[in-house]
Subunit: 283 residues, 2 copies
């Protein structure tokens, strides 16, 4: 048994889709969440900037004594996972591998689509992870840069004409390839599940990356004997780099719970990266 | 005559609409531009975060020996101008006052609309500036949070169905008020001028805030005898907080010129604010 908390981070609110699944699967675990709401979105930024931000995010989380970190962000998972693993000595899970695993188990016609931010699609990480498992898979990838702004605007419901139009535009070429499985390669996208599912039709399975990462985390903790007592009620603490009140207000929509009492602001830009050892130095 | 450069900054690329106008009006001036592309967009963030970022932006520009600063960003102008003026001893121009001045000179039916980011509209700065000049004006304000993402995506042309649909949604209530003048209260919006003008019709005048700020700057420099030799060819230098190459590539669209040779990256988060004079960061 390991009573240390788990660290989870995302560029903003999207990672809460993974967080929600973790709290269901692992009710006894303490979890510290960081959302970089002061610098969201990451998906249009350069790889260098994404790596720099991700290092600060991890350094902040490591100021807690953690047993594992989940990168609940498609962009960071695709761009910076290898770097972060090399630089840190605790288990770090991204969303790419678990989602690729789920996709190859799901597909029957070996035609798989992946949607994500520009940065994510640019890396080719999902394609590599899927082809490693299923070399003959037919693969189509599509960057969907307007979906994160739409989700952050709360425009996620059926009947929102703009959202429906944007989804149609991005998903039309994916649908045209006859895929039976689509990886929602950004943790924001499950909020758009209804609109996307309506467009893609009932024969296409949508893979929720946050959900799959939560399953992978549970498996990892079990395998390494790192689980906390499942009978206890885990504590959750939330940090955001912009206003904590704004974070809590939007988080309520994602989590269906009021978290204002356990949300704080953190000045992420002040988190120092020690480029020798990558240790956190507080100011 | 004053040979010192002018500093200009924006959350990202939008301020280049002002920059372009300045280079036309003031060809002899040296100008240093900073675009905070590593943290764009500002318009959805809290006032505290906008002020914090703006202080760093100004502190960076002041590492040059400037004669004036132009805040080529509606969000920062509306949120942080007073604070920045109090804390700095050089002339600082925002986009709100020049645009309000132009709007009251333009309107014939005293019905004025203002569109901007959420943060800008929340401040009421344009309304206050217009009503100070024209207390009886009928005023309608509208936040347009998806317009900056659309512009940053380059989706600015007539015939882009998503852009046209979003513009229609945001501008319908403005049009319904029978305005004859609309302030484009964000320096990104002039890129959408064609789509907006098509929707609003030819009887409505659109005020370009960046353009008006450039006129106000020229007037200020003239009044205070701060102009450089108008016969010389001014030097321009560009800084961005994300990749300089990405900045230069997009800037070419705004400026119609290749600026790659004079664009650099700056690590804006490392810029220190003198905390003796005022409190920077709460917590």
């Amino acid at each position: 048994m390991d009573i240390r908390p788990i660290g989870v981070f995302d560029s903003g609110m999207g990672g809460l889709t993974a967080m929600r699944q973790m709290t269901l699967l692992l009710p006894g675990e303490d979890i510290v969440y960081f959302g970089d709401t002061g610098r969201v979105p990451y998906g249009g930024r350069s790889a260098e900037t994404i790596v720099r931000y991700a290092r600060q995010d991890v350094a902040f989380l490591k100021s807690f004594d953690l047993k594992a970190i989940v990168i609940a962000c498609g962009t960071v998972s695709a761009t910076a996972l290898d770097v972060l693993r090399k630089e840190n000595d605790i288990p770090i899970l991204g969303v790419v591998e678990p989602a690729a695993e789920a996709a190859v188990k799901t597909t029957k016609n070996f035609r798989i689509g992946v949607v994500g931010t520009k940065a994510t699609i640019r890396t080719g990480a999902y394609e590599a992870a899927i082809k490693k498992r299923l070399p003959g898979a037919h693969f189509i990838a599509r960057a969907c840069p307007l979906l994160v702004p739409l989700v952050e605007e709360g425009r996620v419901s059926r009947g929102d004409c703009v959202t429906e139009r944007v989804v149609e535009e991005y998903f039309a070429p994916v649908k045209a390839e006859g895929v039976d499985t689509v990886v929602l390669g950004c943790t924001h996208y499950p909020l758009l599940r209804d609109v996307i599912a309506d467009y893609m039709g009932k024969d296409v399975t949508l893979i929720d990356t946050g959900e799959q990462a939560a399953y992978a985390l549970a498996a990892l903790l079990g395998r390494r004997n790192l689980l906390n007592d499942p009978e206890r009620v885990g504590k959750r603490h939330y940090f955001a780099s912009d206003s904590a009140a704004d974070f809590a207000a939007t988080a309520a929509l994602f989590l269906g719970a009021d978290i204002a009492a356990c949300a704080e602001r953190v000045d992420i830009e002040k988190i120092r990266i020690d480029t020798a050892a990558f240790a956190t130095v507080k100011n």
